[in-house]
Symmetry: C2
Subunit: 173 residues, 2 copies
């Protein structure tokens, strides 16, 4: 449902082919969803069959042809309906990574500290990718801003947890 919204919304701004679409979703919009290529192609086929987009064949020189997808008026209608539905409701995100937090006490404190430090490093690496494209996320400024806010909250929570709940130790400088 949200995937359709994304596809339609991007195509609304600019007609393009599937490959590029996936590229955009995997970078600027990675915080919303995790759309793989085969799924995207399948979805685009479905949208085309439903008359929400048209596909036209184009060729660049002698390269194999691309399929350019373009929004139809019916697609625009559907897009707006999906958009209103999406904006009007809060959809709770899932944090699969927080499952382990319920059981931190099981491990010896120093190991727990070590693992959480690793997690923080991994989070920072992920966050730096969001910073990297920060300047020009033409397709999704707000989504990236929203993502950054949550990454900051996550980092703060983890550090706080490390300090307050898991004592202090010299291991993390």
């Amino acid at each position: 449902m949200d995937r359709e919204l994304l596809l339609l919304g991007i195509l609304r701004r600019e007609a393009m082919h599937g490959y590029r679409l996936v590229e955009i979703i995997e970078t600027e919009l990675r915080a919303c969803t995790d759309l793989k290529k085969p799924t995207a192609y399948f979805l685009l086929g479905k949208l085309a069959r439903a008359g929400l987009v048209t596909r036209t064949r184009t060729r660049d020189g002698k390269r194999p042809p691309k399929w350019v997808y373009r929004l139809t008026p019916k697609g625009e209608e559907t897009f707006q309906a999906l958009l209103r539905k999406n904006l009007g409701a809060f959809m709770p995100p899932k944090f699969p990574g927080s499952a382990g937090l319920a059981f931190v006490d099981v491990l010896p404190p120093e190991e727990a500290r070590h693992l959480l430090a690793q997690r923080i490093a991994s989070l920072e690496a992920y966050a730096s990718q969001a910073e990297a494209l920060g300047n020009a996320a033409e397709h999704a400024e707000q989504v990236v801003s929203h993502e950054r806010a949550h990454l900051r909250a996550e980092l703060a929570w983890l550090k706080d947890h490390l300090n307050k709940r898991l004592g202090r130790a010299g291991s993390t400088a």
Copy 2:
């Protein structure tokens, strides 16, 4: 994978039957995952076949029998491995609701404001459930604390967005 971690971790603390397990996951642990009953029963069967848990039949008076699941030593091993893996890495959450944020500008500002106000209300309703069980989340204190942190961040971001990006209007008090 994280679902297995949750099931094993809860059973580790206390042997119990599937129905109760799902109840716990749907309330205290709703922030991690969204496990439906049939999925839980299926997963428990899988864990039993893999020798990570045992199931024993019990009857309460004349009620239909329950299956009580109990962690085995092998289950404990697997649990610890999954726990270490989970704690050591950051798993980026997905925010399906943020898809619409990319396209807010499409709508007339007052409608956008109205819809986001609705979303905030819906978020507050959801958050109040987390507050409600706040006192005694015996199985998942940290998970609930983590969830609350993100809900606060979400609320702050939405309000900020409403103020800074969508001008001011008298509609919201």
